[in-house]
């Protein structure tokens, strides 16, 4: 299983490095959105709930770009069939796609969070940075698992660009709510430095629940 996940992940990274279709688009989208918010809000700085909301909604929509493209290379030229013919556990594909999407999200956040702090955030990010990393990590796992599941579901449909967001966004509302609530105290004027435990637990439970659902369903989604 480890060998198969490694082979799949390596292939994912190679394809992304060659095409540069997901990560640059996601990063540019987040930067553009922050600039738009900067001018639309007509405020020099934001903090607390508003800052957390804008950060999470922007990251979610940027993630949608990556989710929509997650299986595109596999659906072209029958490449997914090549994997389905191999004598390997199909869950390896789920694991590799989740890990690939997670790595895209990490790169996205390495670009987006500093840009957010520079363009919009009033208070310094330093006191709450450790907590924010933990909240983002838990949120990313949820986004990656649900995104992979929906992407696998819609890849064989013609309207995947439409169906993907329509199915993914409602499922990810709990991640945005919990992520924003957990991040809010970290982005407040007098940041506490620790995220809310209740919302962190909510994110962890969400990740676990959808991880199990994805594991149970994935085989059926990629098979005939």
């Amino acid at each position: 299983m480890k060998r198969t996940v490694g082979a799949l992940l390596r292939k994912e990274m190679l394809v992304e490095l060659r095409t540069l279709e997901s990560v640059p688009g996601m990063s540019l989208f987040s930067l553009t959105t922050f600039v738009v918010f900067h001018f639309a809000l007509n405020r020099n700085s934001i903090d607390g709930d508003l800052a957390a909301g804008i950060l999470w909604v922007t990251l979610l929509f940027a993630a949608m770009l990556g989710i929509n493209r997650l299986f595109v290379a596999d659906s072209e030229e029958g490449a997914l069939d090549g994997f389905l013919l191999a004598p390997v556990d199909r869950s390896a594909l789920l694991a590799a796609k989740v890990l690939a999407l997670l790595s895209y999200l990490v790169v996205l956040e390495l670009v987006a969070v500093p840009a957010f702090a520079l363009l919009l955030l009033g208070p310094s990010l330093d006191p709450g940075l450790g907590g924010l990393v933990a909240v983002l990590a838990l949120g990313d796992i949820g986004v990656a698992v649900v995104g992979t599941l929906i992407s696998a579901l819609t890849v064989r449909t013609r309207a995947r660009d439409l169906l993907g967001p329509l199915l993914t966004l409602p499922l990810l509302v709990p991640v945005v709510i919990a992520g924003a609530r957990a991040s809010s105290p970290l982005l407040a004027l007098h940041a506490s430095g620790t995220p809310s435990g209740r919302w962190l637990l909510t994110l962890a439970l969400y990740d676990l629940l959808f991880g199990l659902i994805a594991y149970a369903l994935f085989d059926f989604l990629v098979e005939d």
Partner: protein, 231 residues
């Protein structure tokens, strides 16, 4: 050993029945050639045998395993060459074959050997999207036989190949050769060439609108009968 045992195989696409009442047996090491006009169900039959599509009726045994229940035991023993190359356009021939070799637990040396045998060593590191269709077909053939499968499913295998390339890949696609698993290689070939296809066959299957129109040993089939299928 029987490589294929089909009994009243049926398969639908939505409401439409694309395969119906297909029954046949094929011994290991033999070649079944499937003829029929576009939409006759040839590709669907191959995809069912490859475990990529579930049968919707009848019973299917491939290499002694019942489908779809024992599909996991068949994968890895079957190699398929389809209309689509089942490769990544952005990756090179070498990267694509190494990816499949890792999935099948094969050594790197096997990839190098096959690139050589399909005459792609010189251009093995160029992205597939920059190669001609014939070259991609050669890489797809290398992918299909990479793991030395006991059953080869070939959907118009010589499409896009010039005579020299055909000569190059022919030894890789031959039937009856001993496999590493100890059996003899069996083939199912979909063809539109009544004369050439017939020469390859031990058993001939002619499909029309998903139903069996011809099912006989090669010696009992005239190529004019097959031409008739397309009218």
């Amino acid at each position: 050993m029987r490589a294929l045992e089909l009994e009243e195989l049926a398969r639908n696409h939505g409401e439409r029945r694309v395969l119906s009442g297909v029954s046949l047996t094929l011994e290991a090491g033999e070649t079944l050639v499937v003829f029929g006009p576009n939409g006759a169900g040839k590709t669907t039959l191959l995809r069912v045998l490859a475990t990529l599509l579930r049968p919707h009726g009848g019973s299917v045994r491939v290499l002694g395993c019942g489908l779809p229940q024992e599909g996991w035991a068949v994968r890895g023993r079957v190699g398929m060459l389809a209309h689509e190359p089942m490769l990544y356009r952005e990756l090179s021939a070498r990267e694509n074959l190494l990816y499949h070799a890792r999935l099948h637990g094969l050594a790197r040396a096997r990839v190098v050997e096959l690139l050589e045998r399909v005459g792609m060593s010189d251009r093995a590191d160029e992205p597939l999207r920059t190669l001609s269709r014939g070259m991609v077909q050669r890489v797809a053939i290398a992918r299909a036989v990479l793991h030395d499968p006991e059953l080869l499913l070939l959907d118009e295998p010589y499409a896009h190949l010039d005579p020299a390339a055909r000569e190059l890949v022919d030894p890789l696609l031959c039937a009856g050769a001993p496999t590493r698993a100890g059996g003899r290689r069996t083939r199912v070939i979909s063809s539109h060439d009544p004369t050439g296809g017939l020469q390859e066959a031990d058993l001939v299957l002619g499909l029309r609108a998903g139903r069996v129109a011809v099912l006989r040993e090669r010696a009992a089939v005239r190529s004019s009968e097959l031409v008739e299928l397309y009218r």
